[in-house]
Amino acid sequence: MGVTCVCQVPVVEGKSVQQTVEQLHKRLEQLGAVKQGSFFVDCETYHATANTGAQPSKLLYVMHNSETPLSCLALFDGGPTLAADANFDVLMVKLKSHFQNAKGHKVESRGARYRYADFLIKVGTVTMSSSARGISVEVEYSACVVPGDCWNLMKEFMQSFLGSSVPDLPSVFSSKAEGLFAPADCMDTMNQYLELFSKIRKQQVLPGSGVR
C-alpha cells in the first residue's frame, strides 16, 4: 500500500454526476490507464447512546474498503482508529445498546478502478441514501510509502487528468512528523474518505443529481 490521495471532483457545470464520471474515465483511458475491476468504500455512522457526560457524544464511523477486503475499520471523529477483521460488524450488532446505528447516514462511494503503471486511480460516485452526491477520486502511488517523497509526482500526475481541481497535500499527511519515517497506511486513506464524506454530507443536495 502506497501513498494515497483522496479528493472531491466538482461536477462539471451543466452535466450530471454520471457524465462527469464518464468524462474522467475517458481521460484516464486516453492517458493509457487500464481498467481493473471496481471498488467501493462505505461508511456507517453510530451514535453512542449511553452517554453520561455533558459533552456531546462522539460519532463512531465503521468503514469498509474493497482494497482491504478482510478488514473492517472503525474511526472516531478525530479520535482513535481501529482496524479489525470482518467480524467487527457482528460485534457492532451486539453492542446495539451502546452504539445506535444512524440509518440515514450511510455513505458509500462506488466506481471503477484503473491502473496506470504504479498509479492506482479510483473514480467513484458518492451516494447517500441512494442519491448521488458527488464524485471522489482516489489516486494511489504504490511505489512509495512516504508522502513527502512522492507528493509532487502525484500532483503532476493528477493534473494530467483532473486539470485545475488538484488538491493540496492531504491534512493527514501534513500533520505527520517531519523527517521521521511515517509510512502512509490504510487509515490515512480512510480518514481522507471520512473527511470527504462529511464534507459532502453537509452540502446541499445538488440539483438534478439522482442516480440514473
Binding site: S71, D85, N87, M187
Partner: protein
Amino acid sequence: MNENSMSGVPAVRVSIESSCERQVQEVSLDGVETYVPPLSMSQNLAKLAQRIDFGQGSDSDEEDPNGQSRVSDWSKQDLEGEEGLVKFQPCSWPWDSVRNHLRSALTEMCVLHDMLSVIKEKKYMALDPVSQDPIVVKTPQVFQLISKKKSLATAGQLLLRGAEKLSKSVAESQEQWRQRDFNAELLHLRSQWKLRKVGDKILGDLSYRSAGSLFTHHGTFEVIKNTDIDLDKKIPDDYCPLNVQIPSDLEGSAYIKVSIQKQSADIGDLGTVNLFRKPPKAKPGSQVWHLKLEAAQNVLLCKEIFAQLSREAVQIKSHIPHIVVKNQIISQPFPGLQLSISLCHSTTDKKNQRASPDKTKPDDHLYVLEHNLHQLIREFHKQTLSSSVMPHPASAPFVPKRLRMAGPMAYDKSEISSLQHSEGLLEKIVKQAKHIFLRSRTARTIDSLASRIEDPQIQAHWSNINDVYESSVKVLITSQGYEQICKSIQLQLNIGVEQIRVVHRDGRVITLSHQEQELQDFLLSQMSQHQVHAVQQLAKVMGWHVLSFSNHVGLGAIESIGNASAITVASPNGAYAISVQRGNIDSKQ
C-alpha cells in the same frame, strides 16, 4: 537323703532337698531376724561327712601290711555282720553307698599295692614297655592326606555347585531373553511409533497424517508376537520376539528419481524406470522391526510425493502438458529437454533383482532435487498442519494464521492474494530443475570457451552462496601477461530460472534467454571487445598513434550485446598502420 535303701529295690528316685527356709540365727530387739547363711556345697559335704561314723568300719579302714590280719578282720566282720546290719538299718545311714565305693576303691588300691610290691621283687612279674603300633606313627601324615582330600572334595563340591548354578542361570537368562519380553519390546516400539489396540490386535500407524499429511493411504501396520521359534534349537542372533506386519504395498524400498535428459525421440520406453538399490545395512543396535517400519514409512512418503506430483501434473495447465505414465512424470522445462520424475519401488523379492539393462546407464540422478522434493513435501505437511493450529482466538475465522492477521493488519488485495496463492510441488521442482539445468549449462559454456580460446583468458568465479532459484557467477576476461596494461572485463552473471541477467561493469544489464547460443555470442563479443581495448592500450604503451577508434561502427541501432568496433593505429614513424576491427563473431587482424 536316700531313702531307697529301705525298700532295698531302688524303684523311683526321689530327691529331697532341704527347704529354702533359713535358720534364724538371731532376732534382734527391733524384731529383725538374722538368718544363718546357707551352706555352700563343700560346707554341706563337710557337715555330712562329720556325721559319718568311721569308727563303725574302722577295722577295714586300718591298713594292715600283711594280708593275714586282714583276712581275720574280714572274718571278724562277717561274724558281726548279722548284728551290724540290724543295728545299722534303723539309723538309716545315708552315706552307705559312699562307704561301699570307698571300700571297693580301697580293695582296688590294696590289689594295686600288692601287685606293685610283687613287681618290685622282679621274680614273678616284670614290667615291659607296650610295643607301639607302627600305624600309629604314620597316622599324622595319613590324617593330613585324608583331611586334605576331604577338604579338597568339599571345595570341589562347592565349585561344582556354583558352576551348576551359573549354567542354570545362563540357561534361564537365555530363556528369559527369548521370552523377552515381547512386552519390553512392545514398550520400546511404543516409544517410537504410534500404537493403538483394536480388538485383540495391536495396530500401529506409520503414516505422516499426524505431521500434516493428507495422503489417503491408511498406513497401518500390525504388531504380532513372534512365536514360530524352536525352543530347542539355538536361537539366531537377530531373533526378536516382536514382529511387525506392514501392508504389502509398502514393502520393499522406494525412492524418487529425478533426472534431466535430452529428449528421447522414442516415447515407447517410458514408464519402465526400474532401478534397484540394495536395502540399507542394519545399524547395530536397532531392531529389525524398526528398520522395517522406517523402510515402509519411506515408501509411503515416496508414494505420497509421487501422488501429489502426478495430481498436480494433471491439474496444472502448462504450455507443454506434463505427461504421467505409470510411475513416471515427464515435463519439458526447456525445448528439447525433459525432466523425468519417477517413483522406483522395489520389493525385496529376488526375482526383481535381476540385472536390468538400466544399470549400464550412467547415474543421472539429480540428488539435490530428490532431496528438495522430500523437503517440499514436509513443508507442505507443515503448512496443512499449521493451518488449523490451536490456540486460536474465539472470534476469528478458521483460516491460517497469516490470513487471520489479514483483517486486523488491513492487508490489501495483492497481499492477500500472495498469501493464498501457493505454488504446487511440481511447479517448484520444475523451476528448480530449470535453474539447475541453466546453471550447469552456463558453467559448461564458460568452460568450453575457456578451453577453446587461449587469448584472452576467461575465468569464472562461482559464488557458493545461492538460492534454489538463483545463483551467480563472476566472469573475468583478461589478457595473459598484460593485466597491468589493459583492464579486464568483469561480468556478473545472475542465473535465474528462465534467463540469465548479465550485469556489466559499467552498469548495463543484459538479459539473456536460456538459449546456450546467446550466452556464447555474448561472451565472444565481450572477448573481442576486450581485444580491441587491449590493442588500444598496447598502442599507447608502445608509442603508436591511435588514428581512429570507435566502439560502434556500422549503421543501425545498437545491439544489446554491443556493436562492432574498430581501431586503427599507426607506428611511431608512420610507416605502418594496423587496423583492427571486430564484428560480433570474432576479431580479425
